[in-house]
């Protein structure tokens, strides 16, 4: 009960900060839309590349990537807030006041999820408005959202672990860069089969590749690699949960 009370308090404060501060809210809404526009709009001719066989078209192909990207960066952006709380001294007071400190991590996690749900709702409305095609009955779309949800939590836990270790906004690139790399070393612009050379070799072993490919399978109503994708996403979640809890202990020890 104490954990939930702390989580509720932390998440309410974080969400209040985000939704009442345009400089925090607008970038997290605009950036995914912008990437969606730039990729789906600018690169639509890529679907004419020999071997590109995604049935729902390039808009849907890029929608999946942008949904997953927004999930991951939504988690990272919340991590920036944790670092800011440490810089301002608020997090230290929070550590003193919370009867169960795991509730702090949980609270940040809940706020990251709510933030992402708002972002992905806007993104979905825009995607359908510009004529995105979805295969089957559309129910499979929720499989994509489930993957995004797990990815969002995993990214938040990663960023939380970094923020609690460094306790400064200067750690922003450390939170952001690895996430950027893992995302962009997946098949972003073309299916895995069309990647060549070193980037193909990296994409094959990149756990995010399974997630992206399965997400695209959901949207085309042709589920592929579902177990591997959920396994990879959950595996990252569990790994970063351990990382975040260790980070919390680190912050506690630092006083």
């Amino acid at each position: 009960m104490k954990t939930l009370a702390v989580a509720r308090g932390v998440s309410w404060r974080t969400l209040h900060n985000v939704f009442t501060n345009p400089s925090l809210l607008i970038p997290s809404l605009i950036f995914p839309l912008f990437f969606f526009t730039a990729f789906a709009g600018g690169l639509s001719r890529v679907r004419d590349v020999p071997g590109f066989d995604y049935p729902q078209g390039y808009t849907a192909f890029q929608f999946v990537f942008v949904v997953l990207q927004s999930a991951a960066f939504g988690g990272v952006f919340t991590g920036f807030g944790i670092a800011r709380d440490f810089e301002s001294g608020f997090a230290r007071r929070l550590l003193l006041a919370a009867p169960n400190r795991f509730g702090i991590v949980l609270g940040y996690g809940i706020s990251a999820l709510v933030r992402w749900l708002v972002t992905v709702s806007v993104l979905t409305v825009v995607a359908f408005a510009v004529g995105m095609q979805v295969g089957g009955s559309g129910v499979d779309l929720f499989g994509l959202y489930a993957l995004g949800l797990i990815l969002n939590v995993a990214a938040l836990l990663w960023a939380c672990g970094v923020a609690m270790r460094f306790r400064t906004m200067q750690a922003g690139p450390v939170m952001q860069f690895p996430v950027f790399l893992v995302l962009f070393f997946a098949p972003v612009y073309v299916p895995l089969a069309l990647l060549q050379g070193w980037i193909h070799d990296i994409a094959v072993v990149n756990p995010l590749t399974r997630v992206v490919e399965a997400g695209r399978g959901f949207l085309a109503a042709q589920p592929t690699e579902v177990a591997a994708a959920f396994g990879a996403a959950l595996g990252l979640g569990v790994l970063f949960l351990w990382w975040a809890v260790r980070g919390l202990r680190n912050a506690e020890a630092a006083g």
Binding site: S23, P27, I30, F31, F34, F35, T37, A38, G41, G42, L43, S44, R45, V46, D48, V49, P50, G51, F52, P173, L181, F184, F185, P187, V188, Y189, V190, L194, L195, Q196, G197, W198, I199
Partner: protein, 257 residues
């Protein structure tokens, strides 16, 4: 005249030294564009199989992007450093000395241009190492470096204008996403004639960044394309003149306060 040159030199040296003392200011403009080049040239290699794509090497096509992206970082660096000078009161103290207004801008931009040239040398070096050969030859390399210097100057002047108007490093950093939008809504990843979505092609055509990219790209993959060069240098010159005039006015206003 000598006194003016001395003033510019002293401030430019300060600007360069200050940048070199902040590893993040040096490393980000070098590493991030190279990383994006690696990711995009790997991921979009298949695009070269589209009929009408101007080259078989996507790296050669995409090598233009780091030049413009590096200039964006120069804008941010110039703006943030000058904003810090305003916030710490350095500019106010400077205004009490006989230092000329143009020397303040010239010095600040001298540092940005030096860094811009270093960045361009690194980008060209990396391109040559990974097998890109300039279709315009050695003379083209000189023109390319000159263009990089001009772009760094023009973008740096835009950064100083933003800093002088806002007086806040955070506000200058906040402009970065806006500049990034210009980069992405351009012919950064695909030639304009291959863009299928009409509104996107129109936006890219109206976007001056497309012509800066195409100027660099022409030297790398086409050879000597007079139209691309004229547009690239013309737009850079225009941007530079407007931004410098605006910066000079903003500095006058700020020093009068």
């Amino acid at each position: 005249m000598k006194q003016f040159a001395d003033q510019v030199f002293v401030l430019a040296r300060r600007s360069v030294v200050r940048t070199l003392r902040q590893p993040a200011s040096v490393i980000s403009p070098l590493v991030f564009p190279m990383l994006l080049l690696a990711v995009n040239s790997g991921g979009l290699k298949a695009e070269t199989r589209l009929p009408g794509f101007p080259t078989t090497s996507f790296v050669a096509f995409a090598l233009a992007v780091p030049f413009i992206q590096g200039a964006l970082f120069a804008t941010m660096n110039a703006g943030t450093d000058l904003a810090r000078d305003i916030q710490t009161g350095f500019l106010s103290r400077l205004s009490l000395t006989p230092m000329r207004r143009l020397a303040v801008l010239g010095g600040q931009l001298g540092g940005v241009v030096t860094l811009g040239l270093l960045q361009a040398l690194v980008y060209v070096g990396v391109g040559l190492i990974i097998g890109v050969r300039l279709a315009s030859g050695a003379a083209g390399l000189v023109v390319l470096l000159l263009f990089a210097v001009c772009v760094a100057f023009a973008f740096g002047a835009m950064g100083t204008f933003a800093a002088l108007r806002t007086g806040s490093g955070e506000a200058v950093q906040g402009l970065f996403p806006a500049f990034f939008v210009f980069l992405f809504i351009s012919s950064m990843n695909i030639p304009r004639n291959l863009m299928e979505i009409t509104w996107f092609r129109d936006a890219a055509t109206a976007n001056p960044v497309s012509y800066l990219l195409e100027c660099v790209r022409s030297l790398i993959i086409t050879g000597w394309d007079t139209e691309a060069l004229a547009l690239g240098f013309g737009i850079t010159f225009g941007l530079g003149v407007v931004a410098l005039a605006a910066s000079s006015w903003a500095l006058k206003v700020r020093m009068a306060r």
